[in-house]
């Protein structure tokens, strides 16, 4: 596992709002997390959770009426290209002068304050993004080789045409596409291959961070599995960090090192994947994990979570989850829970829930308590 201790990206108290005539919608509220080199962080959430907005905010791709209204995003570039790359010698040398200089602000850069030219340099060199629908992200009238070349030409002006072609072939081989598809157009490729092409383009400049926004949603289960395996293999090889955004929590359990669960624009639980799977603390996390019918094991009646994700224009007061929460009590309606460690001995798993706050609740619920409550819900739905 290539997760070293040094942080790569630290997001602190990020707020993103959408301005509408009927009022301001808080798409992302007070989100903080950090990403280490080579770590795969999963961001899970349903509609209205703000996860995609968060991704766009980090890469500063938001357009009005979306507005970042607070917080900072600090990037710690480090001074070497970490890990073993497969890039060629020329590109390596060229890379050094194209890396964002480190002597700024004592080693870190606030992404939100970067002026245009430096932001442009930052993009794709350090930070790349893979969008949800590769079919839409690829230019239909250019071959994929040309699109890779385009990226290289934009950021590595000193690379010659031959070097670019070589790098393009390298990248395609890296993601498992035969080099003879260099001149294929997107519509000639299958869905899985297009997604791989997008990943190849994203990796063209050996970025440190790859943000992937639901990259496999439109793909079949088998292809999805292949792409995920590919991502993990590439991560081992190139040691980049990944922020993987999805609504499908079950994918993250297979893929991610750490998971942050978002609800109504806030992070409600953050933990290592194992911790989250073995003991989800937040009732929403439990309910979400419990929404996936098991492939094996005894068949039992399950229920999802009652109600539906809130409309961000009218978020419930206090804890946004309280109308749907089987454990809600009086404090949940009025007080907003802070993201705190669930157990003081184990700071790795943080949860934003009053059930774990000794001020409001004497005994935090055990896994059994959570299980029983949700079973009752399932029974209720069976009878109804």
């Amino acid at each position: 596992m290539a997760t070293t201790g040094r942080p790569l990206l630290r997001v602190s108290n990020l707020n993103v709002d959408y301005l509408a005539a009927s009022g301001t919608v808080h798409a992302v509220t007070d989100v903080s997390f950090s990403l280490r080199r080579g770590e795969i962080l999963g961001l899970a959430g349903e509609s209205g959770s703000g996860k995609s907005t968060l991704a766009y905010a980090i890469t500063r791709l938001l357009r009005p009426p979306a507005l970042i209204t607070g917080g900072e995003i600090r990037y710690y570039p480090g001074d070497t290209v970490a890990g073993e790359d497969v890039i060629s010698e020329d590109a390596m040398g060229a890379d050094a002068i194209n890396r964002v200089p480190t002597e700024i602000d004592g080693g870190s850069i606030d992404l939100l304050q970067l002026p245009g030219a430096r932001l442009r340099k930052m993009r794709w060199n350090e930070l790349a993004i893979v969008f949800q629908s590769a079919m839409n992200a690829l230019n239909p009238v250019m071959s994929i080789g040309a699109q890779i070349s385009d990226v290289l030409r934009a950021h590595r002006p000193q690379m010659g045409a031959e070097a670019r072609k070589q790098r393009a072939v390298e990248l395609l081989q890296l993601v498992g596409i035969a080099p003879d598809r260099l001149r294929s157009y997107p519509h000639e490729l299958s869905g899985g291959m297009r997604q791989r092409a997008i990943i190849a383009i994203a990796l063209a400049l050996s970025p440190e961070i790859l943000i992937m926004d639901e990259p496999t949603t439109a793909l079949d289960v088998v292809v999805q599995r292949e792409i995920l395996t590919e991502i993990m293999r590439l991560r081992e090889q190139l040691n980049f960090a990944v922020i993987f955004i999805t609504h499908d929590l079950s994918l993250l359990l297979d893929l991610a090192d750490n998971v942050a669960i978002m609800y109504a624009g806030r992070i409600v639980e953050q933990a290592s994947t194992r911790d989250l799977y073995l003991h989800p603390r937040h009732p929403y996390s439990y309910g979400l994990l419990n929404s996936f019918p098991a492939l094996r094991g005894p068949l039992r009646r399950m229920s999802g979570i009652p109600g539906s994700p809130p409309d961000l224009r009218s978020v419930p007061g206090g804890c946004a989850f309280h109308p749907r929460c089987p454990f809600a009590f009086s404090a949940c309606r009025v007080a907003l829970p802070a993201l705190q460690p669930a157990q003081t001995e184990h700071a790795g798993q943080t949860v934003a829930c009053h059930l774990y706050n000794p001020v409001y609740s004497a005994e935090p619920p055990t896994q059994n308590d959570l299980a029983k409550k949700y079973e009752m819900l399932a029974e209720g739905s069976a009878i109804r």
């Binding site: 005539a21 009927s22 357009r63 009426p65 979306a66 507005l67 970042i68 209204t69 939100l112």
Partner: protein
């Protein structure tokens, strides 16, 4: 909260139904929506006001005419004055009265013809777009042929040969102008046809004609109304053109016929601006008003946009994108 009881075996037990609004309340609600939509966008408001003024003048103007527009007098080619607000023609007719009289013809025949063109193109577009197959092929052929024919020259030729009168001009304009909207609507209907709610309606057993007119068409009202407005602009202009060329019935007043007589009697050469500028200005103004309305039509028709008004752009407090 009212509860509902299931009808008993012995006839229907009284069922407490949610109150449905009476007809007048619903019409009022619709009108209020339209009013809100019209005033939400400045362009639409201004455009509607202009067209509204012309319609009012057309309806009630002739009640306020001071002179009989046909009556000649001894005051030939008089400049605008307190007596004759827009001066007189070469035979002493009051131009202002003529203008008001002509407004009625131009506005109502224009709108009426626009409506008929829209109806015809709607029928062709919807039917061809929905059914496809040979029906569509035949209708598309007719549409394409009609598009290729040059509209104005053909209109001139037809108007010249047919008996004079506003009905002729109306029919001629309809005949030469239905194709464009038909093509637009056909394209839209083709795309609508594969929408899931149409499939769902078919699967529910809905009758075909109901699918066309009650499922697909309501989604196209925006385009149809926008098309109607554009068509009407064109109709008004074409009408004036045909009249100006003398192909209308000169005795029936309209803006175009004023221009015809102005030209015949040498107003352009004699720089009698008060004769030919007012009708020209009216035509241009009506066209402008209709164009302004065109810009905001979509919002009125689409229920999704009814409640949420368009957000006003605010000054960015902090550079984000």
């Amino acid at each position: 909260m009212k509860t509902q009881e299931i009808a008993g075996a012995m006839g229907a037990a009284p069922v407490a139904l949610p109150p449905t609004d009476p007809l007048y309340a619903r019409i009022l609600h619709l009108l209020r929506n339209v009013w809100r939509a019209m005033t939400s966008s400045r362009k639409v408001a201004v455009g509607s006001a202009i067209v509204g003024i012309f319609v009012l003048v057309g309806l009630f103007g002739p009640l306020f005419m001071r002179y009989d527009p046909e009556a000649t007098s001894n005051l030939f080619i008089a400049h605008p004055s307190a007596q004759h607000w827009l001066g007189t023609t070469v035979v002493g007719q009051d131009i202002f009265s003529q203008l008001i009289n002509g407004t009625r013809t131009s506005v109502f025949w224009g709108i009426g013809t626009g409506l008929l063109v829209t109806l015809l193109s709607m029928l062709v577009g919807l039917v061809g777009g929905y059914f496809g197959g040979w029906v569509d092929d035949v209708l598309t052929l007719l549409t394409n042929v009609s598009l290729v024919l040059p509209a104005l020259p053909l209109a001139i030729v037809l108007a010249a040969y047919l008996p004079r009168g506003p009905l002729t001009i109306s029919l001629v304009i309809i005949f030469t102008n239905w194709a464009w909207q038909a093509r637009v609507l056909r394209a839209q209907t083709l795309s609508m046809r594969s929408r899931e709610f149409v499939t769902a309606a078919r699967s529910s057993g809905e009758h075909t004609w109901r699918i066309i007119f009650f499922e697909i068409f309501p989604n196209e009202i925006g385009i149809v109304v926008a098309g109607f407005v554009s068509t009407t602009i064109y109709v008004v202009l074409t009408w004036a053109a045909l009249e100006f060329l003398g192909l209308g019935d000169g005795t029936i007043p309209s803006w175009g016929s004023i221009l015809y007589w102005a030209q015949q009697d040498g107003a352009l050469g004699g720089q009698l601006w008060w004769w030919f500028i007012p009708p020209g200005a009216c035509i241009a103004l009506l066209g402008a008003g209709l164009s302004l309305i065109n810009f905001g039509i979509d919002e009125i028709a689409d229920p999704r946009l009814r409640q949420d008004a368009r957000p006003r752009p605010q000054k960015l407090r902090k550079a984000a994108a």
